[in-house]
Amino acid sequence: MSAPGLSIAGAPGDDFHAAALRRDHWRERLGLAALAAPALLLVTVTVLLPVGWLFGLSFFDDAGAPSLEHYRRMLAEPSYGRTFRTTFEISLLTTAICILLGYPLAYFLSQLPRRAANLCMIAVLLPFWTSLLVRTYAWLVLLQRRGLINTWGIELGLWSEPLQLVHNVAGTLIGMVHIMLPFLVLPLYGTMRAIDRDLLRAASSLGSTPAHGFWTVFFPLSLPGLAAGSALVFVLCLGFYVTPAMLGGGKVTMVSNRIANDIELFFNWGAASALGVVLLVITLVVLVLAARLSRGAGLFGAGH
């Protein structure tokens, strides 16, 4: 903002007034920004300081002397390697299955008339907002030995003995895909809706078959949404706790479960916080890479 043009140029008071106006302007803007202070204070006290404090613990050994003991142990003990491999495998598999199921669903929704699509969206949004615990419980009930899936499978003659569907990797994957799918579908659907239909009409008028038009025009344009959604799903999977703990039956130990075990069973804060540091670093690296790839489109769309 510049000083008002009322004063005569070169008059002695001119600079003074301009400076005062600038100062007032800044004071007002800072005062407005200060409205964010309560929120900033809250996040500082409940996240930034505690997480920083926790991470500090990882650089001290059990006797309290500064050391990289916990990180050295992480490299030396094969069980840590197994935990990270499990975490990556489950996260990658979940993301891949979500893409296989979510891309056709988002495409299907994007081709429907808007009213019908909004109606179908309820089926996506209702589970999205239903408690994680309720949904995981539902799978526990459905997949257990005497659960609905086994009962129906046997009645229909698909298999004769109750299958072990839960308390293992399969159960964990089913539960995680169910919870992550909306995180993929929502940004992807938004991207697909925004694609200009005239481009497809143009491709068609230039002689491309529907399939060819889809792969050369529509699919490339939908990639930013797919990248954003997949990255979000992958990152959320990396730090997932509840579903592996409940549907994995102790056989699926992801990083989060190991962190919780270190604290609840072994009271080993140093080991837990070192794992936490590694988990956060991996999470941030994936997020930054994904933001580069998709230019951050809709990446931070939802927290659950």
Binding site: L32, V47, L48, F108, S131, L200
Partner: protein, 271 residues
Amino acid sequence: MSWFDRPASDTQITHRSRLWLYGLGVLVLAFLALPTLIVIPMSFSQSQYLEFPPRQWSLRWYEAFFSSPSWMAATATSLKAGICTALVATPVGTLAAYGLHVSRLRFGGVVILALLTPTIVPVILVGIALFYAFVQLKMVNSFLGIVLAHTMLAVPIVMMIVGSALKSFDLDQERVARSLGATRAQAFLQVTMPQIGFAIVTSALLSFLTSFDEVVVSLFVSGGDNSTLTRAMFMALRDQIDPTIAAISTIMIVITSLLLAASQLLGKAEK
């Protein structure tokens, strides 16, 4: 020409050649919606094994829930925590979103990023870090601790919803009000707030839901007399599949649906 042979899109593809897509879409929608919904009829089953469809209907599991002092105490804690979270997170998040939007400072982006950290840091880390801090401050298992933790998780959601409403709001209206003699506060309360009211109410409802449904942080910071409902459910499920939880799940699904429907209806009334 039947519906099947009519073109389904601008590329002249017919509905018939797209039947696989419709089938797959409906199947995936069913996979998303049905597992949670199927718990509702199952919760009225007489049997320990939660049959579907129930051979004998009963309210047995609802009785078990409503007559258990520990379930009732956990429900009360969760409801109170949800209401307190909504009451604190909504004004705090709205003020932050408004302040950062209007002041347009260069470091505003950094502040927004800092305020969104609860959505970026894996929730398990937030949980154990808070547990560690609360142990030092003697705030473990305290009601205040739960509300602080849940408010921190809800503030980013409020900021995103109110922030996006402010983006489509014309701030010149506030300038007009102020040039006519209103103070900043009056301009905000009388001109801006009524127009972003829908976003504020929605964010209050979602703040409540965030708190009410939250599991991981509650596992670490709540307990004893102040266990939340989700913590009590998680603990009960470690031992066995307690059918009472089907009844609780049904109640939670109903609460979620009602709140979402309320926010949708408000949105319609707004337009």
